[in-house]
Every structure is written in C-alpha cells, then in structure tokens.
Amino acid sequence: MMLGFTSKQLVGVGIFLFMIFIGVPLIIGATGRWDFYFTLTSVALLAIASAGVWLTFYIGRINIGQGAFALIGAYVSAILVVKAGWSFWISLPAAGLFAAIVAILIGLPILRLRGVYFAMITLVLTQVVTLTALALPITNGAKGISNIPLPSSISVFGIPILPDFAAMENTKLAFYYTACIIMILTYAALYRLVNSRLGHLCRSMQQNEELASSIGVNISYIRVVIFAISSFFGGLGGAMFGSIAQSVYPSSFQVADSVNFMLNCFLGGLGFVFGPMLGTLVLYFGWDLLFEFGKYQMLIYSTVLIIIIRFLPNGLLSIRFGKGGDK
C-alpha cells in the first residue's frame, strides 16, 4: 500500500506513465508521425477540461458549458501574457483561478437548477462568453488575440526550472510533456478528491440532494465549490490551448466544443474517474484518424458515435465494469 493505492493499481499507473513519457515518444520517433504529438497534446488538454465536466456530473449536474470556461481561461492567459507582460507560467494558474471565480459568481444562481434546465443554461453560457468576447474591447472582438509569445523560461534564484520554449528546437515535444504533466496532476487531484470525504458528499448529493441536506451537508456550498474546481480545470485547459495555438478567437471554443466535452465524459463512462480521459482519447483520436475520409469525416464520426450510444448506452467502460450505472 502506498498513498492508498493497491499494488495492482500502482503497476497500472506505472505502465500508464511509462507509455506517456517514454512509449509514445519512441513510437512517434519510429513511425515518423510527428503530427501525433499535436493530436495527443490536444487530447491531454481536452481531457483536463473534460475532467471538470465529469466532476460536475459527480454532483448530479450535466455541464454543457465547459467551452465557456476554456475560452475564459484562454483569454485571461493571452491578455496577461500579451498586454500585461506576465510569464505564461504565472498566467496559467491565474487563468484557472479567474475561471473559478466566474464559476462561483455564475454558479450561485444557476446551480439551483437541475437536470435539463442546468444543461440548457450552461449551453447558453458558452454562447454568452463567445458574445462577450466579441463585444469587449480588451478581447479585441472578432479579431481575437494572435501572436501570443511562446512560454518563456522560468528560474528561481537563478536556477532555471523551465526552459524558454521559443529557444527550443522541438516545441512539439515540450508542449506534449507539459500538457501530459498537467493532465496527470489534474487526474491525480480528481482521484484524491473523489476518494476523499468531499467526493463522498458529492456522491450523496448526486443520489439525493434532500437527504444529503438532512444529514447536514451544505449542498449549495459544495455545489459551488465543485463547479469552481470544475471550471478551474476548464480554464487551465483553455489557457494551455491558447498558448500552443499562439492565438485566441471568440470561436476558439464554441457550443460544439462544450457538447464535445460532455460527450467525452459520457462516452468514457461516468462511473469511473479516468472515463473522461479515455473518452477524450477515443473521440478526438478517432476524429483525427477519420480526417483521411475528407468530406465524409463528420458522417462516419457521427454514425459511429450513434452506434456506440445505441449499443453501449452506459459508456465504453461499462463493458468492463458491466454493472452499469445507478437506477
């Protein structure tokens, strides 16, 4: 036993880490498919945002508004780096925190809504943020913010901790590693959270809010805390994305992206912390692989999606964890 993991789980985590940090670079090096770095980096970042959506589901709310928080994160980081001259590495947590603060303000009223109502209002939220980005002067309207510099080096007391990305030969690999490290930290935090008392309280709220409040759980407080954490993940993922693309536009994250974050969670399976990671990998990688089919890409993608939902309505992981959800 270490950190509450069983030895079997430790082996699994070990293999997973090995694959990410050594296996994937080796395979890409051998096959020469350097474009996969970008794909996998995107998967990692989208998986961070999806983790947030999964967490809101954990308190029984369907969140189709993660695109809004990803967009907020991307803009905050871009503005801090370009207009205020901050280091990207400081702007990254700032972007997450800003998204979390927005989530607290918006969450206070809207988290009272349940079911379809919450789902619809979060969907509308994505549209609100897009329109706000178009309207505000600081976000540059439809032109967006482009030419964001690559992350600069960072050192503490003269000791370099992170290198200057602009000076690197292989920024793809650097971004890949950065994204993976942040993703792993995100999921480690998510795992801890779900298995700590906060997670247990979330579960009690997911199953019955009335009963949860009768045993003394301050449900409105926990809802807001969870929504803030969820949006922190969204802001983090969005900010990283903006940095890699070196630009942000109001259309960088749209309603369709919000829907995709939700799909990632559902497809992976809601009963399992790593579900959203798997869902993101399958959906995004699948989408990328279908690129060869040109104009039929969307048709094949959506057909496969519909077939999966039709025959595995409880998510991909439900094959292994056969018991299905709770009803």
Binding site: G115, V116, V124, V255, S302, D326
Partner: protein
C-alpha cells in the same frame, strides 16, 4: 413603435412554433432534442429543393417538408431513442444520443445540400406601408399568418382529437397513460414525429424570407432551448409565451441597439440567466426537483 410590435409578432410566431416542437418532444420523452435546429434546417432545404429548384407550388413544397421531417422524426424515435431509453441506466444518455444525431444531420445536410446559403423566389411581392410608421413586406405578413394558423391548428389537434388527448395523457404521466390503455410506444413515435414536423414546417416557411444554410442549425437549437426555459419545459403554453417573449426581446433589442451588433443577444442571454435564477421553473412550468 408599431414597427417593433409588428416585428415582435412576426418573430414571436415563428419562434413559438420551433419551441412547440421542442417542448412536445421533451414533455413526451424527457428528451432534450439537440437536433431540433438541424431538423429546422432540413425542412428549409426540402422546401428550397421542391419550390425553389423544381418549381413545385409553395404549399406542396411545405407539405413535403412536413412529411419528410415527420418520417425522419418517427424513424429516429423508433430506432434510436426508444431502444436507448429502454437500455440505458441513466436518463442523460438520451442527451448524448441527441447530440450525436445533431452531428449526423449536420453531416447529411453538408453532403446533400452543401455549405452555401440558399434562397427561394418571393412567394408574394410588394410591401405593406402604413404611413412609413409600419413597413412590412407582404410575404412576411403571409408567413406570420401561416405560422399563427399552424399554432392554432396544433393546439386544436392537442385539445380536441383522440391523438392529442393521448399525447397529453402521455406527457402528464407515462405510467398512468399506459394503465389507461394508451399505446405508449406508438404515441411516443407520433409525438416525436409531430415535434420534428413542426421544426420542418417552420424551416419551410422561413426559407422564403431568410433563406437557409448549414450553419443555422446550432443557433436555432439554442434559441429554442431559451424559449423553452423562459416558458417552462414541457408546457405548451410556456413554449408559446417563450417564443413570443424572445421574439419581442429580439425585435426591441435590435431596434434600440442595432449599432452595437450582437449586444442584443448578450443582453437577452444575461437577462434569461437572471430570470431563471429567480424562477428556475420558467413562467408556466411547475416547480420540480
């Protein structure tokens, strides 16, 4: 002022029809139909093809839009929603399915009709002009009247026919309806087909004025969601009120703030969020949960 009111009525009548279809499907199956906007777009393209390209009379083309969507809706319900609802541990799976169908229909529209904006010849020429205070092209007036007539016909159908009564019973309580001898499977399919048909009908009506293009689907769905939220999900009067209110807000906002572009929509969204914070069940909805 008269102009704003007239625009409000015009927008509101079409919006109400879109919201009616969405709310009907929601009330019957507890499904949030993400693909509603895409169904609307398909309706527009069918009318465009028959009326605009092949010269079939407009009314017949409209009928074709309705028929196409009704069949599509029935098939989607029968072969996708019904089995997923039965086999899923969570109600939310239907939301996922609806999103998948929205993507699928978008892909089909892209392949069959292409990306271009399409328009059709005017159905009637001329402009109604009352002293320059109220200017409205005749075709808009005609479409508005047709939309209102369709809403009246829909309400009549729901109130006075056997099908309507069965649908209402189903919407109120599925189990009770089943016990009363309503064929739940059959009427779910009919209801879904009817909801899809309404979306197709509005699409067909509006193609004569705004034209139609692939990108309209998503935004239309979002507007429909908003109307349903304003009025209260699953309530017919709520959908009509939601449509009228959104129509008027848009007409007023666009008239007063037209130089600021999309700020109207931003204001509408923000006021909707404030409204829902105060009244989560919407205007007509029952408090629940």
């Amino acid at each position: 002022m008269e102009q704003i009111l007239a625009n409000g009525v015009y927008l509101g009548s079409q919006y109400a029809m879109i919201a009616l279809g969405l709310t009907l499907i929601f009330a019957l199956m507890n499904v949030l139909n993400f693909a509603h906007g895409q169904m609307y777009v398909i309706g527009g393209f069918v009318t465009y093809t028959f009326y605009g390209q092949w010269g079939v009379p407009f009314v017949l083309a409209l009928v074709m839009s309705c028929v196409t969507l009704a069949i599509l809706g029935a098939l989607i319900e029968r072969f996708l929603f019904a089995p997923v609802i039965k086999g899923s541990a969570r109600e939310e799976s239907t939301m996922l399915l609806a999103a998948g169908i929205a993507f699928f229909l978008d892909a089909v529209i892209l392949l069959v009709f292409g990306e271009k904006q399409r328009g059709v010849p005017k159905i009637v020429d001329g402009v109604f002009n009352y002293d320059f205070r109220l200017i409205m092209p005749y075709d808009r007036i005609l479409i508005c009247v047709l939309a209102i007539l369709s809403i009246v016909a829909f309400i009549g159908l729901m109130q006075y026919t056997k099908t309507g009564r069965a649908l209402r019973a189903l919407a109120q309580d599925r189990t009770a309806a089943q016990l009363m001898g309503v064929n739940v499977d059959r009427y779910s399919m009919i209801g879904f087909a009817l909801g899809a048909m309404l979306a197709g009908l509005v699409g067909g009506l509006l193609v004569t004025i705004t034209g139609v293009n692939l990108g309209m689907g998503g935004p239309t769905s979002i507007k429909a969601f908003m109307m349903v939220m304003i009025g209260g999900a699953g309530v017919i009067s709520g959908a009509i009120w939601g449509g009228i209110i959104l129509g008027f807000m848009e007409a007023i906002g666009l008239a007063l703030l037209y130089q600021y572009g999309d700020i109207t929509y931003l204001l509408i969204f923000v006021s909707l969020m404030i409204f829902l914070a105060i009244r989560p069940q919407g205007l007509m909805g029952k408090p629940w949960g």
